[in-house]
């Protein structure tokens, strides 16, 4: 069972051109593999928007409300300590921990989302079996089209990649 086709390119510019070419041709399930992030055009049609920012924002709000509510409940309801008649709901004193818990929940939720959306940890992947894929982290500029793409068909896709300027093309075996 074939997972897809992997193509290598000369440099980031050639790779970017090829990605654009494939998208024009109607491919959607493909991705680039590079040692550092490419400067991508502002909005490529069909690129899914990352949800991380909204998750972080929601977690920050939840952390702040939860942190404040915890302190209010514990200091006012569960364990009230009367110090010379001072108000139990002393909100300014609750702000530092509210802030810290906001940052903590937002950061942890964001990183968990990052890992989950990237499918991490995933130590095996069909691409890792391709000889030369290890260059993607160092100096390779690669592009893989997945076989699940509706447009995918081994020979025509290979031809499209060749026309896009691919230097070498490898078949990627599925797991």
């Amino acid at each position: 069972m074939m997972w897809g086709l992997l193509a290598s390119f000369d440099d980031a510019a050639a790779l970017a051109r090829a990605a654009f070419h494939l998208r024009e041709a109607g491919y959607r399930r493909f991705d680039t593999y590079t040692p550092y992030p490419l400067d991508e055009p502002a909005d490529v049609p069909g690129t899914p928007r990352s949800h991380i920012a909204s998750v972080v924002f929601a977690a920050a709000i939840a952390g702040a409300i939860g942190g404040y509510a915890m302190q209010w409940y514990l200091m006012v309801v569960a364990y009230p300590i009367n110090v010379g008649g001072r108000p139990l709901h002393s909100w300014p004193a609750f702000i530092p921990i509210t802030f810290e818990l906001m940052v903590l929940t937002a950061s942890v939720a964001g990183v968990v989302t990052l890992l989950a959306r990237n499918g991490f940890p995933r130590l095996h992947h069909p691409l890792f079996a391709v000889p030369g894929f290890e260059r993607a982290s160092q100096d390779g500029f690669l592009l893989a089209v997945e076989a699940t793409d509706p447009m995918f068909s081994p020979l025509p896709t290979r031809r499209t990649l060749e026309q896009s300027g691919a230097r070498e093309i490898y078949e990627v075996d599925g797991a």
Binding site: Y79, L123, A136
Partner: protein, 463 residues
């Protein structure tokens, strides 16, 4: 004419990356440090010096658990002693790491790329060293978890109006967020090590740590987004952490502590001491590992400028602290200032003034800012000066407060010094292990920077 003259007198600043350095050079040189079969000789020598100190920390901690905090010099009225001063010092050191990695990222200061990993790691280990002290100082350290709000059998809860509880939340949040920031930033580099590792064991170890990073466009997009978000979260966090630390002091009705200047004063001092440590780490490391093309004198100079700027803020805080003592016409504050400058601990005051205010002025001279040797010496002096300042803040305010019958002096014992030396050893050993097993420079960020500097994203790399 004017420009010609200025060019003649002021040599141009060094570049962020030495010219001719390619992405490939960065990856090869940085990963060679980690993947070399044997560490260099100096590494073993340094580890052999640090390891006994870690043992000393173990012994000092064990003896503390057996005998109690009476083994330290803490005694009425100075119940805080070295433990709290060391805590403030260590956690302050960490702050420059967050500043370099988070704030400079948000400000698009791309020169940070080659020193951010170094500084973030410093943060991580410094916060670990800091965290040890308040726990040891508890007297019954095994009950430290009482600071956590959990439904205990005793049906009691932490006092959330206390800065000590704020501290617990602030420091543990700071450590967690620093760790996440450090690790998330390192995932692409761990993938590089996985792909370059020569032995199967190393490939498996780095492979697990890299979590399956493939550098796909999706990975990078989410990674970048989260990295910037973490930077945005860490930036106010770092200010909040040392402000909360300062509130441990400012909350108390003690002369010299009970002041609104303390939060900014502590934050400025923290960043100041942190930059000093960055310089004392970066100067030898770039030389020992031949990374002078990657960590150029431009980085050192920029750090020196930040050191100078924060040094001036610290000097301003010193001036204001003493001005307000006079201006407030509070006799206790005035007595504190006099006692600080001429009392039994006067040498501490004058030493830290020299180290923190006088020495740093040398950085106005460009020649000094570009000399690694001078930067190392100045950084080391500021480290010492900032430690003395923290000790001075703790001791001088406590040892003579309102009622002369309650006065007393603090004299550190051998165990005070042993614990301090032990944490320095722990920091050194942890750092040595880090540079041996993890990438010292953010390789993928550097590669991106080099590609961007070249104007056209990445040209010839098939070599």
């Amino acid at each position: 004419m004017g420009t010609a003259l200025s060019h003649a007198t002021v040599p141009p600043a060094a570049p962020v990356v030495a010219s001719g350095t390619t992405e490939r050079d960065v990856v090869e040189r940085v990963s060679a440090v980690v993947l070399a079969r044997r560490a260099p000789l100096w590494w073993y020598a340094a580890a052999a010096m640090a390891a006994p100190l870690v043992g000393l920390l173990g012994v000092a901690t064990l003896w503390l658990f057996v005998a109690g905090i009476g083994i330290w010099g803490v005694m009425r009225p100075v119940m805080w002693g070295f433990a709290i001063a060391n805590f403030v010092w260590w956690i302050g050191i960490g702050h420059a790491g967050t500043l370099i990695s988070a704030i400079l990222l948000l400000l698009h200061q791309s020169w940070r790329e080659s020193i951010n990993r170094l500084a973030e790691t410093m943060t991580l280990f410094a916060v670990m060293c800091a965290g040890i002290f308040p726990i040891l100082h508890l007297g019954r350290p095994w009950f430290f978890y009482w600071l956590v709000p959990y439904p205990a059998q005793m049906a009691i809860w932490p006092q959330f109006r206390s800065p000590l509880v704020w501290d617990f939340f602030a420091v543990s949040t700071y450590f967690t967020v620093s760790l996440l920031f450090w690790y998330v930033g390192m995932i692409p580099d761990l993938a590089i090590l996985r792909d370059r590792a020569g032995t199967r064991g190393a490939r498996i170890a780095y492979g697990i740590l890299a979590l399956g990073w493939r550098g796909s466009g999706e990975h990078w997009r989410r990674h970048h987004r989260m990295y910037v978000l973490l930077a945005g979260l860490a930036t106010p966090l770092v200010v909040s952490v040392h402000s909360v630390v300062s509130l441990d002091f400012a909350y108390a009705m003690v002369p010299g502590w009970h002041s609104t200047i303390l939060p900014p004063y502590f934050v400025a001092g923290a960043i100041y001491s942190g930059f000093a440590v960055v310089l004392t780490l970066a100067v030898p490391l770039r030389r020992l590992y031949g990374l002078t093309d990657i960590i150029t004198s431009r980085h050192l100079e920029n750090c020196a400028k930040l050191l100078l700027a924060t040094g001036e803020i610290v000097a301003y805080c010193y001036v204001m602290e003493h001005f307000m003592a006079w201006y407030s016409a509070n006799p206790f504050d005035a007595a504190l200032v006099e006692n600080r400058a001429f009392g039994p601990y006067a040498p501490l005051f004058w030493i830290y003034l020299v180290c923190n205010v006088l020495v740093v002025q040398a950085l106005w001279v460009p020649r000094v800012r570009r000399s690694p040797v001078w930067l190392f010496i100045i950084g080391a002096l500021i480290n010492i000066g900032m430690w003395i300042e923290r000790v001075d803040i703790v001791i001088v305010s406590l040892h003579r407060d309102f009622v002369p019958s309650a006065w007393g002096n603090f004299v550190p014992t051998i165990w005070d010094w042993a614990t301090l030396a032990g944490t320095i050893g722990f920091f050194a050993l942890a750092y040595l292990l880090f540079i041996r097993y993890l990438p010292l420079v953010a390789m993928s960020d550097m590669a991106k920077l080099i590609a961007d500097l070249r104007g056209k994203p990445a040209a010839a790399r098939h070599g």
